[in-house]
Symmetry: C2
Subunit: 226 residues, 2 copies
């Protein structure tokens, strides 16, 4: 059995055109030796320039997706080919992960890889095997492709469960969605595909901590018999 994991509405995007000409943005890119077109939107760098950006509290945190990608890629569940992994972004792009993708250790290489992907739409290894593929689409499009119409969603106002209980639901359902943004709520479009809404804790917990723990509990069900 293969589980589908979608990191949804991830705060991962290239610098919006409206910001590329902002002198503050140009300046902060310059300090890092880069041009604005070679930057991902990043709240740590572009905070002041983001004030008129729609949904700005949900955007500009590419580190969240990066850390979840690293968690997934180092998990035995993914390495053994038992998890389909997708990153859906705020701007409705979908990044599909091939098998055995090993993300770069250094953030600046990850940023370069993402910019390359947004430009070329596909990243292959030296043998021509597709590692990453980019297309337009929404969370429901990913689900449709995997033959599902809904998924278990993790959201602050969901039913309180432990990671073990959540993993049992996910293993049973076959697909789950975690938000890849720092604050705010899922769009109505995304939350409409939740068959069930679960939550771990009233206190905020980092997305990658949730992903790491949930994948680990899933492995206990799917890879090992207790």
């Amino acid at each position: 059995m293969k589980v589908t994991f979608i990191l949804a509405e991830a705060a991962l995007e290239t610098l919006p055109a409206s910001l590329q000409k902002d002198p503050r943005v140009i300046n902060s890119c310059k300090k890092l030796g880069k041009k604005p077109e070679n930057c991902l939107l990043d709240k740590s760098l572009h905070y002041w320039a983001m004030d008129r950006l729609k949904d700005r509290e949900k955007r500009g945190r590419p580190d969240i997706a990066y850390r979840v990608i690293q968690d997934v890629a180092s998990s035995p569940l993914y390495k053994k080919g038992m998890m389909n992994f997708f990153v859906h972004t705020y701007n409705d792009y979908i990044i599909q992960f091939g098998e055995n993708v090993r993300p770069p250790h250094a953030y600046f290489r990850f940023e370069g890889l993402m910019l390359d992907l947004f430009e070329k739409k596909v990243i292959k290894d030296p043998e021509g095997k597709v590692l990453l593929q980019l297309k337009r689409g929404k969370v429901k499009d990913v689900l449709n492709e995997t033959g599902k119409s809904s998924a278990v969603g993790f959201d602050v106002d969901g039913e309180k469960v432990t990671y073990e209980q959540a993993a049992a639901h996910v293993a049973n359902y076959g697909a789950f969605v975690i938000g890849g943004f720092p604050a705010g709520n899922f769009s109505k479009e995304t939350s409409s595909i939740f068959s069930k809404k679960l939550s771990f804790s009233q206190e905020t917990i980092e997305t990658d901590t949730v992903a790491c723990r949930l994948i680990y509990e899933l492995e206990k069900i799917l890879l090992f018999t207790k």
Copy 2:
């Protein structure tokens, strides 16, 4: 009960003096808008210049410590004040973490913070509370300070256990050590303080995945009654 976690021999250091004058290093720093004295040693950037560096396979991976620090800082065990956390580095520096330290989201800010710490030896919050403190020392010095003479060590040739079994040992013993380097072995000095050597899997598993899962199982024992 408070558990002590030491990330040992972490591949985290400023650029060695011998490399600061290497034209390849100067060049790669320049591309990122930095001077060599404002860089951490990083295999992704300084690989070719590291060829004559002692123990080079163990060094130049500050991302490992960064990710483990993020895992610790977002764990309920640390947030509730039930874990002492220390990073011991390859060059025998010890970074002691205060309570409720929140590491930066962006890697470049983490790098800046570490460089600041290596220079000033202490980082305080605006109210004067000590967040990070740097001193010279070895793993055994950290243990002595917490009143212990040995710790549970995680090493590839240790006794094979599950994370649950490992957490039971650690909870019982009160202190554990994970290696913060990408390849090679613990120094004799570090491994001499292991009361018990444990291992999770024959296949290599990322340090931060180990840390995340082990801390989670520790929480089950120390924070919740099942």
